[in-house]
Every structure is written in C-alpha cells, then in structure tokens.
Symmetry: C2
Subunit: 202 residues, 2 copies
Amino acid sequence: MDYRQTIVEEAAVMFRTYGIRAVTMDMLASHLGISKRTIYEVFRDKDELLQGVLKWMREKQSETMKKIFSESENVIEAIFKMLDMMGNHFQKMSPAFQMDMKRYHNEILRKPGDQVEFPYSSSNSEIIKRGIREGVFRKDIDVDITNKCMLEVAKMSNDKTVFPSDDYVSKDVVRTFYLNYLRGISTQKGLDLINLHDKKHK
Amino acid sequence: MDYRQTIVEEAAVMFRTYGIRAVTMDMLASHLGISKRTIYEVFRDKDELLQGVLKWMREKQSETMKKIFSESENVIEAIFKMLDMMGNHFQKMSPAFQMDMKRYHNEILRKPGDQVEFPYSSSNSEIIKRGIREGVFRKDIDVDITNKCMLEVAKMSNDKTVFPSDDYVSKDVVRTFYLNYLRGISTQKGLDLINLHDKKHK
DNA sequence: ACTTTGTAAACTAAAATAGTTTTCTCATTT
DNA sequence: AAATGAGAAAACTATTTTAGTTTACAAAGT
C-alpha cells in the first residue's frame, strides 16, 4: 500500500497544530496506527518528511488560490477572499509551528538545495499584474518588489513575536496592515473597490 | 528586585502560546532579558515554575469569574459571559499546551502533593447553587456531580483530540455541547433564559 | 573596598528522541 | 503448504536537547 500521502496529510495536521518539534515520530506513527518503521520506509528522515509536508501544503494552497483567483470578478474581491482563507489557516496554525519554521530556516545551509519555504501566503505576481491590467493598481509600481513586499507584510502580520496575540487579534492585524499596504498601491478605482468590499465584509 | 511575578507572567504567556515543553528555560530567560541563573534563583526547577504559573492562572481566572458572577443579573447571563471568556482563553491556548498538560498529568504521582490542575474552566458549585436558588436549575440535581460534569464537558469541548480543529470550530463546540448539557439541568424558566441569551448572542 | 545582585557563557548530567535493528505475524502468491 | 513480503511491535543505540550548575565577571549600593 502507498502510505506516503496518508502520512503527509496526518503529519501536516499534527505539525501545524502542535509544532514540528513537538511531534515525535513515535507520536505520528501511533496516531496513524502504523509502525515507525513504515514511516522510515517512505521518508529517509524527519527532514524529508517535513519537506514533503511543506510541498503538499504549498500545492494545496496554490490550488485554492487559483480557484479563488479564477472565480473572482476582480482582483480586490480575490484578495479579500484570499485574506479570509489566510485568516482561517493562520488560526489553525500553532505559533509553535511558526517558531519551528524560523528555527529550521535559521539553520543556514542545512543541505544545499533544501528549500524551507513558508507554505502559506505564497502570493504570486500574477495577482499584481492582473490588478494593473484591471486598472485597480497603479501602473508605475514595480511588480517584483511589490510582490515580495506583499508576501512580507502577510508574513509579518502573522508573526506572534511582532504582534503577540494577547494584545492583538491576528485576523484584524492582517486586515489593517495588508489593506493599508494595498491602498498604497491602488488607483482611485482600486480604492473604491477596497472600501466597498471592506464595508461588505464587516 | 522581585522578579517572581514578572517571570510567572511571561512564562504563562509563553507556555500557553507555544506549549510547556517547547519553551526552554534559555528561551524564557532571553525573552525576559534576564539570565537563566536568575530564574533558578526564584524557582527550584521548571516544575516549580509551572506550578507557579498554573496557580497564577487559576487565581486570575477565579477573579474574573467572581467579577462576572457578581455583575450578572442571573446565572444564565453569567454563564454566557463565562463561555465568551472561556472561548477567548482557549483561542489563545495552544493545543501543545493542552497536550503537555495531559502528559504532566499522566506522570502519576510525580511528587506527592503536587497538583497539576487544569487552570481554566474551574467552574465552581456556587454557580449551580445560585441557579437552583434562582429557580433556573432543577432542584433535584446533585450539585457535586453536576459541577464535576460541567467541568468535564468544558474540558472535553476544548480537547483537540476529540474535536480536531480541522473539522470543528472550538467555540461552536463549547456552545452547543455545554448549552445542551445546561438545558438538561434547567427548569422552564432556565430554558427561556437560555433561548433568550442564545438568540441575543447570535 | 566589599558585599550583593545579577549577567554571560561554558559546562555536565539527564532526558528525550531520531533512527536502527531484530523478531514476529499475518496475508498473499506460487 | 512453503515461500515471500509487508508491516507491527518493541527493544536498542546514538545523537541531540535541555535542565540545571558552576564559574568568572561586572555593576551598583553600602
């Protein structure tokens, strides 16, 4: 039987609920009702498993994005839907997971070729380009830089070390932070759409 | 200077955000901007620190409860406010924290006298007694047993292993589960109040 | 100057956990 | 029915973490 997908999905849930380090291989195995050996049959080590999990998360997330993107009438609507989705994801994602991700990230050059990229909020420049085409974003913005910035804003908004959840509600931070940035790159038409959706969503 | 309270409060936040095991003493120290040594000056070991944290959580929680209790017109109103507060707390509380608490709990008889009690939802029989007095709860219920049961219902509602947050929204589970139990011990007057508040809260 | 209070960092000892190996069992195939 | 293979179960090792200690040192108060 091919356990690979089953393992990845369960590991994904456990990692993001409890954090990566908190989930031991024994724990994962017993949750799956299989033996630890079987996991190591499919994945060389925990690192490879993590890579598999992150890859799967990215793929799933990317699909959802595409769906939202294609089902929306305009970019602003798409972004609002996207923010909702992200809000959901981040609510399910334990701070421990984010902490562990940072730690893995900081272990510089663990193995060359290994990319430990943040699974969610992988915004892509397509959104920005479409926004410009639709006359919602200003024509004079640098697509590449803006794309990177929006990703950073999204990441930062959800960083518990920057906005401790005691003082802020994660969802609100994303909204205000991200939307304000959005306003900054919008045309008048874009601003109108933002205000419209913001009111409707509230 | 007396660091004790500062340490306890920071540890409390970190424990419930990242889980107990995920927070190392070094991490805690550097977060506080003090040396690890200083922590050990005040607390013999991590266990004693955890006890301190839990005690403080219980006290703070108990105070809030008393406040809610005294500021409410009737028991049902108090319980709805209480549920709101609990919802908040559980949202801030990482599943890792709950997992670690269970683990500590299972290490039977770690030290005689050590009580590792769950900090939140320490409902007390006062609420039930007041409910009976107000004619909201049936007179024939066993106060002690009901108290214990309500506590268990509250705990269970927030147990991620029972209700994985993928499938359920924690807040909704508490609401339906707890409220249904509540209905079971209520008189007609109680039922009316529950329906009233439930509608208003929605 | 000396004591206290705390920092910084190196250190040790103990615990936890990744990863391995062995043995056993059940099911499928030949 | 014997052989093969896939996986369970559990014991084991080796590595890594982390709790907790010790040491050397610095600033501040007396």
